[in-house]
C-alpha cells in the first residue's frame, strides 16, 4: 500500500450521545520523505497494473454470461419471482376460489378478480383472473395473501412485447370453481357444465391484445375431467380444444 501505513488504522474508544463506542479511525497518509513517496507511488501504480494483468492472464476468472445463447443452461432459484401464474393440480385444475384476497393485497391494483355465480350451484366462483404485468412490481404480496395456495410466482422473465396491451394477462384457463369444489360434484356432465374453458382469456393470453392483427390466441387447456369415475363415462368431444397452457 503506497502512501499509507496500515498500522495507522487506530482502534480507540469515543463517546457520543452518552455511549462509549469502539471506533476504528481510517488510515491517513504516511508523512514520509519525498523520495520514499515517489517510490511508494510508483509501487502502488505497478501493483495495480499487476492486478489487472493477473486478470488478463487468467481467463478462468471471466464472469460474463453469454445470455441469449445460454438460455438452456440458465438456472433459477425456485423462489425467483418473475411472472404471476396459477398453480394447477395434477388434473390441470386451478385452486382459486375467487376470494379476492390477492386483489386487496396488491399494492398497485395489478390484479382484478372477476367472479360469478355458478350456473349450477349458484356458488361464488372465479370467472376471470386478470393480471397486469405492466403495473406489477413482483412484490409477492398476492402469493402471500392467497389462503388457498392457488397462485405462484413463475420464472419466465422474458416478457417483452411490442404492444403494452399485450401485457394484460388472463391467468385462468378454466372459469369455474376451484378443484376442491369440483371434487364434491359427482356427475361428470354437471362438472363439465360448471367449468367453462376460457378460450380467449385462458392461459397466458393477452386480454386486450386478443383482437390485434397477427396475433394467434392460445387456446385454453381442454377441460379434462378430474375424477376417476369419468373414465367409465367419457365426455363427448369438446369444441374448446387447443394447445396446452405453457
Amino acid at each position: 500500500m503506497s502512501f499509507m501505513d496500515f498500522t495507522d488504522l487506530r482502534y480507540e474508544k469515543r463517546t457520543l450521545g452518552g455511549k462509549i463506542l469502539p471506533v476504528v479511525v481510517c488510515p491517513r497518509f504516511n508523512p514520509r520523505s519525498q523520495p520514499m513517496r515517489v517510490f511508494d507511488a510508483v509501487k502502488g501504480l505497478l501493483q495495480g497494473m499487476r492486478l489487472t494483468l493477473g486478470y488478463l492472464l487468467s481467463p478462468s476468472k471471466i464472469v460474463t454470461q453469454q445470455y441469449p445463447e445460454n438460455r438452456a443452461t440458465l438456472k433459477f432459484p425456485e423462489r425467483y419471482r418473475a411472472i404471476l401464474k396459477f398453480k394447477y393440480d395434477e388434473n390441470g385444475l386451478h385452486k382459486c376460489t375467487g376470494c379476492k384476497n390477492c386483489e386487496v393485497a396488491c399494492p398497485n391494483a395489478s390484479i382484478k378478480v372477476i367472479t360469478r355465480d355458478s350456473v349450477i350451484t349458484e356458488d361464488h366462483e372465479l370467472d376471470r383472473y386478470i393480471w397486469r404485468l405492466d403495473s406489477c412490481m413482483f412484490c409477492n404480496a398476492c402469493v402471500q395473501a392467497c389462503p388457498f395456495d392457488a397462485i405462484e410466482m413463475g420464472h419466465a422473465f422474458e416478457n417483452a412485447v411490442y404492444d403494452r396491451r399485450l401485457l394484460i394477462y388472463g391467468l385462468n384457463p378454466i372459469a369455474g370453481p376451484a378443484a376442491s369444489a369440483l371434487e364434491n360434484e359427482e356427475d361428470p356432465e354437471v362438472r363439465r357444465r360448471m367449468s367453462d374453458p376460457r378460450t380467449i382469456l385462458g392461459g397466458p393470453i393477452p386480454l386486450n391484445g386478443a383482437g390485434l392483427p397477427n396475433l394467434k390466441p392460445v387456446a385454453a387447456a381442454p377441460f379434462v375431467d378430474p375424477l376417476p369415475i369419468a373414465v367409465t363415462d367419457p365426455l363427448p368431444p369438446e369444441d374448446g380444444e387447443g394447445e396446452e397452457v405453457s
Binding site: 501504480l45 495495480g48 497494473m49 492486478l51 489487472t52 494483468l53 486478470y55 488478463l56 481467463p59 476468472k61 471471466i62 464472469v63 460474463t64 453469454q66
Partner: protein, 375 residues
C-alpha cells in the same frame, strides 16, 4: 523455410549497406525518367497509408475492446464473427450510416473541419515512420523535427472541435486539451532530443540505423531509460489517454471536445485517437527500442543469429504492439488525474527531469560515454 533466411539476408544487406530506398526517393528518382512511374509510386504510398489506417483502426479498436474486457473479467465482443472480430467493422458501418448532427448554434465550417484536422496529423506522421528497412514512405532528414511540428498541430483539431460546438462542456474539454497537449509536447520533445543527441541525426531511418549496435534505451547509461519513461508518459498525455484523458473526462465533461459530434465525424475523432496511439508506439519503438532492429545481446552470436531470423517488419510491429499494450494497460488500470495535477506533473516533475536528462545526455555524448560506441 528456405526463402525466409534469404529475405533476411536481403534485409540485412540493405541494412548494412544503408541504401534504404523509400517510396518518396523512388518517386523522386522516377520523376526524371518517367512521370507515370513517379505517380504510381505516390499512388502506392497513398493506398498503403489508407490501408494502414483502415487496418489500424479496425484492429486497434478490436484489440482495445478485447483487452479491456479481459482486464475486467469480461469477454468483450463475441457476436459478430468468431470472437467478435468483425464487431469493429459492423460498428464502422453503423457510424457511417448514422445521422450527422450539427448543433444549430455551432460554427458550421469549423465544426465540419475539426475532425479532419484531427485525423490529418497522425496520417502525416505515419508517412515518415520507418516500418522496415525497405518500407518507408518518406525519409525526411529532419524526421524528429517533422514529427514534433506536425504532432503539435493536432491540438488545433481538438480546440476547433470543442470551440465550434458551442457547448460549454466541449469548450472546457478543448481548453483542457490545449493546455495539456502543448504542455506535454515540451517533455516529449526533450525526451526525443536525447535520442537525437546520441544518434547524431534527425532522420528517423538514420536513428534506427544508429541502433544497430544496441537500442538507445540501453546504450546510454540510464539516460535512455529515463528519456523512454518520460516519453511514454508525455505521449500518453499527448494522445489524451487515461490517466490523462482529461479533455474527454467521461464522468466530468460527458465526452469533452467531441460531445456534439456524431456519426462519421465522431468516428474521425475516434480513429484519430487510435492512429495517434499507433504513431506514439511506432515512434517510441523507432527512437528507443531500435525500430525494426532485432534484439541483440552483446557477443551472443548464436542468440543474435536466431533473432536475425525474424523479419525486421515483425520486430517493428512487435515492439509497437508492446507499447500499445502498455498504453492500453494504463488505461484499464488507472483513474484519471485532475487538471492541476496534470500540469503539476508536467511542469514540476517531467520537465525538470527531462531537462536534467538532456543535460546528462549532452555530457555523455561529449565524453563518448555510452555502450557499444558506433563504429
Amino acid at each position: 523455410m528456405n526463402s525466409a533466411p534469404h529475405i533476411i539476408q536481403i534485409a540485412l544487406g540493405a541494412a548494412s549497406s544503408w541504401q534504404v530506398k523509400t517510396v518518396s526517393e523512388r518517386a523522386a528518382d522516377a520523376l526524371s525518367s518517367n512521370i507515370w512511374e513517379s505517380i504510381a509510386y505516390m499512388a502506392v504510398a497513398l493506398a498503403a497509408v489508407g490501408l494502414l489506417i483502415t487496418f489500424l483502426g479496425l484492429s486497434l479498436i478490436y484489440v482495445e475492446r478485447k483487452l479491456a474486457a479481459h482486464f475486467q473479467c469480461r469477454l468483450g465482443p463475441m457476436r459478430v464473427g468468431p470472437h467478435g472480430i468483425f464487431q469493429t467493422l459492423a460498428d464502422t458501418i453503423k457510424l457511417l450510416v448514422k445521422e450527422d448532427i450539427i448543433p444549430q448554434e455551432a460554427d458550421k465550417p469549423m465544426h465540419l473541419l475539426a475532425p479532419f484536422l484531427c485525423l490529418a496529423v497522425p496520417v502525416l506522421i505515419l508517412g515518415v515512420v520507418p516500418y522496415s528497412p525497405m518500407t518507408q514512405i518518406a525519409d525526411v532528414n529532419i524526421g524528429v523535427l517533422f514529427v514534433t511540428a506536425v504532432g503539435g498541430f493536432g491540438v488545433m483539431g481538438i480546440l476547433l472541435g470543442g470551440w465550434s460546438s458551442n457547448n460549454k462542456w466541449s469548450m472546457l474539454g478543448a481548453m483542457r486539451a490545449g493546455a495539456q497537449i502543448i504542455s506535454y509536447e515540451v517533455s516529449a520533445t526533450l525526451a526525443l532530443l536525447v535520442v537525437v543527441l546520441f544518434a547524431g541525426t534527425m532522420s528517423l531511418a538514420g536513428i534506427v540505423e544508429s541502433q544497430q549496435q544496441g537500442w538507445w534505451i540501453w546504450r546510454a547509461h540510464g539516460v535512455g531509460i529515463v528519456a523512454f519513461i518520460v516519453y511514454v508518459i508525455a505521449s500518453t498525455a499527448e494522445i489524451n489517454r487515461t490517466p490523462f484523458d482529461i479533455p474527454e473526462g467521461e464522468s466530468e465533461l460527458t465526452a469533452g471536445f467531441h460531445t456534439e459530434y456524431s456519426g462519421l465525424r465522431f468516428s474521425f475523432f475516434f480513429l484519430a485517437e487510435f492512429i495517434n496511439m499507433f504513431v506514439v508506439a511506432a515512434l517510441t519503438s523507432t527512437l528507443f527500442l531500435g525500430g525494426w532492429m532485432p534484439f541483440h545481446i552483446g557477443e551472443w552470436e548464436a542468440f543474435n543469429g536466431v533473432m536475425d531470423l525474424v523479419p525486421p517488419g515483425v520486430w517493428f510491429v512487435g515492439k509497437s504492439s508492446f507499447i500499445i499494450f502498455v498504453i492500453m494497460w494504463f488505461r484499464w488500470t488507472f483513474p484519471r488525474l485532475r487538471v492541476d495535477q496534470l500540469m503539476h506533473l508536467e511542469w514540476k516533475v517531467l520537465l525538470p527531469i527531462g531537462l536534467i536528462n538532456l543535460l546528462a545526455a549532452a555530457l555523455l555524448v561529449l565524453r563518448h560515454l555510452y555502450f557499444f560506441p558506433a563504429a
